[in-house]
């Protein structure tokens, strides 16, 4: 097993193409329900990867990520309903709007550390949800949300079946993976790591820590906005439920469960937090109990996550 992993590591193209082929073929033998489950997994993997930039790379606690997801979804829905803009063209705007709000909220609070930052992000998440529920500016449709959104038309092809949407999300997931891997191994990615390891030393070495943290927040938030827009592409109804606190917690758990800062970890986390509960839907509320038990058990047995990045494992094991 070990030697096989080692050999695969030396041939990145082989396992990358292998995984892509698996992802492409996987939904074919499944029925529509499981294809929808895969679609949902893809959406949350994108959300997890975007949150991983903020929590994993820059080490900032963000417990209001669902707010940006909802902002992206509402932007896409509103532009489509009021201005008849095709959904495809609303995606870039969703990204920009979510990124802009990411900037607005994070700019004044970036100097806060750890738990204080966490509290503010929770509050922001709730503010967004309540604003949507209270039908802010009379455009968000209150607790019922918005409905009657168009179907997605992509290059003349109307996306109707879950399979279509799965492939759409898969495309953006691959794009996200590509971007995130490159960010991780860049000057910016190193700056995030320096800030996470020792902010004072990073600052003294000439790294603009505000710049680094702000970029992490803006990129992460913007990408969550895209996930929101992709949600609207399949589900023509948006409601304030998208911004519920539990959604933010699930996204946070995806990142932490798999291993903070680790890309494969995000997939393991999505599998544990989204796919498995969806498959075991017949167990009803017991699923939530399982989540709680799993979280507690993991914090005791494997605080670094199920598939941690090498570096974070060292950081966490060291603190003990």
């Amino acid at each position: 097993m070990g030697s096989l992993m080692e050999r695969l590591r030396r041939m990145p193209l082989v396992w990358q193409i292998g995984l892509l082929a698996l992802a492409l073929l996987l939904p074919l033998p499944l029925n529509d329900y499981y294809r929808a489950v895969l679609w949902r997994t893809g959406i949350y993997a994108i959300l997890g990867l975007s949150l991983n930039i903020i929590v994993g790379y820059a080490g900032l606690f963000q417990l209001g990520h669902a707010a940006f997801y909802a902002l992206g979804a509402y932007t896409s829905a509103l532009l489509n309903l009021h201005f008849d803009i095709p959904l495809v063209l609303t995606w870039p705007i969703s990204i920009l709007v979510a990124a802009f709000f990411g900037y607005l909220i994070s700019r004044p609070i970036l100097h806060l550390r750890g738990d204080y930052l966490c509290i503010v992000t929770i509050a922001f998440g709730e503010v967004v949800r309540l604003a949507l529920v209270n039908n802010i500016f009379g455009i968000t449709g209150g607790a019922n949300g918005l409905s009657g959104i168009d179907q997605t038309v992509l290059f003349g092809l109307t996306l109707r079946t879950p399979l279509h949407h799965y492939y759409l999300v898969l495309f953006f997931l691959v794009l996200t993976l590509f971007a995130v891997r490159r960010l991780e191994n860049s000057r910016l990615g190193r700056a995030w790591m320096y800030v996470r390891e020792d902010e004072t030393a990073a600052e003294a070495m000439g790294i603009d820590t505000t710049w680094a943290k702000l970029l992490a927040f803006v990129l992460g938030s913007g990408w969550a906005g895209l996930a929101g827009a992709l949600y609207v592409a399949r589900i023509p109804v948006v409601s304030p439920d998208l911004a519920r606190f539990i959604e933010s917690v699930v996204m946070f758990c995806i990142v932490v469960l798999g291993g903070t800062g680790s890309i494969p970890g995000v997939f393991v986390g999505t599998l544990g937090m989204i796919t498995l509960p969806e498959i075991f839907r017949f167990l009803k509320t017991w699923r939530d109990a399982w989540m709680g038990v799993a979280m507690v058990a993991m914090m005791i047995a494997r605080p670094e996550g199920l598939w941690p990045s090498r570096r974070i494992r060292m950081e966490i094991r060291e603190k003990e």
Binding site: F178, A179, R182, L183, S186, R187, L188, G189, R190, A191, M193, Y194, E197, D198, T200, A201, A202, E203, A204, M205, G206, I207, D208, T209, T210, L215, L219, R311, M314, E315, E318
Partner: protein
């Protein structure tokens, strides 16, 4: 003109005056030692120079730039005009830049790099990655460069590695290039911190107790390295408790006690100064 000038610098933490009206200056190409008993305010002065703290009173200028002065709120004649930073007008922008206190990374960009008393390396990163941090502010690639990797970004990345390797070699750490910083022996960690600071290509290098915890042999090597650094054109300011190091390499020494400057001069002058002897050995009971 002096490279670094400190005028009437005062820092109070609540009721405690850590630094009390200290003035001294540092010329280009000099090695200046800052000494004094524990708690005399040496590290506080370092933190004031590098922008980690803002002074209560007084100011510091470096190479013609004012790098530290009391924060705006403390000056009664100016209202804190924080929103001015979005005003595009150039003259206003320049005025604002003079009024606000510089942030630590901006001071590093001006040419001051430091090491820390308690070693503050990026422990779980390799030696190379640590030193690469120093090159950060001399390079520009951002999100676009990271994702699309245009030729300019790849060239820059190669430049960062090459620069870092050069300083690793200078500090004699080439064998440890890919080792994690925390796995290095203590003496090498000290060297790595200096390599990281040098990679920022400073004009002024500030060393906070570089010889602490080093053995005889390592200390001698360190003294030699500091001289080499100075000979390459970098001005050095150091805090040190090891008198052999201080007297051996410093051209001038400033002595602090209870936050006040009590003496300044060549090592010989300082050693003879009765106030310095008193501060170190205590007052004689009469």
């Amino acid at each position: 003109m002096a490279l670094l000038e400190i005028r009437n610098l005062t820092k109070q933490f609540g009721g405690l005056t850590a630094v009390d009206c200290v003035s001294f200056s540092l010329d280009e190409g000099e090695i200046l030692g800052l000494i004094g008993p524990n708690g005399a305010g040496k590290t506080t002065i370092f933190n004031l120079i590098t922008g980690i703290y803002a002074p209560t009173e007084g100011e510091i200028s470096f190479n013609g730039h004012q790098i530290a002065h009391p924060p705006l709120g403390a000056r009664k004649f100016i209202t804190p005009v924080w929103w001015l930073q979005w005003v595009p007008a150039r003259s206003l922008r320049e005025q604002w830049d003079q009024l606000r206190t510089l942030r630590p990374h901006e001071i590093t960009e001006l040419g001051i790099a430091r090491t820390f008393q308690t070693i503050r390396l990026f422990k779980n990163m390799t030696v190379l990655e640590n030193v690469m941090a120093g090159v950060h502010h001399r390079t520009r690639a951002g999100v676009w460069g990271a994702i699309f990797r245009p030729p300019a970004q790849r060239g820059e990345e190669a430049f960062i590695v090459k620069e870092a390797e050069q300083y690793i070699h200078f500090m004699g750490l080439s064998d440890y290039r890919d080792e994690l910083a925390k796995n290095l022996p203590y003496g090498h960690q000290r060297r790595l911190e200096i390599a990281r600071a040098l990679a920022a290509r400073p004009r002024l290098l500030i060393l906070d107790e570089p010889a602490a915890g080093l053995n005889e042999q390592e200390t001698l090597e360190l003294m030699d390295l500091i001289r080499q650094i100075r000979d390459s054109g970098i001005t050095v300011l150091l805090i040190e408790h090891d008198m052999k190091v201080v007297m051996g390499i410093c051209e001038r020494i400033v002595v602090l006690d209870y936050g006040k400057k009590i003496a300044e001069g060549t090592p010989e002058e300082v050693q003879r100064n009765p106030r310095v002897i008193q501060a170190y050995l205590g007052e004689e009971e009469v």
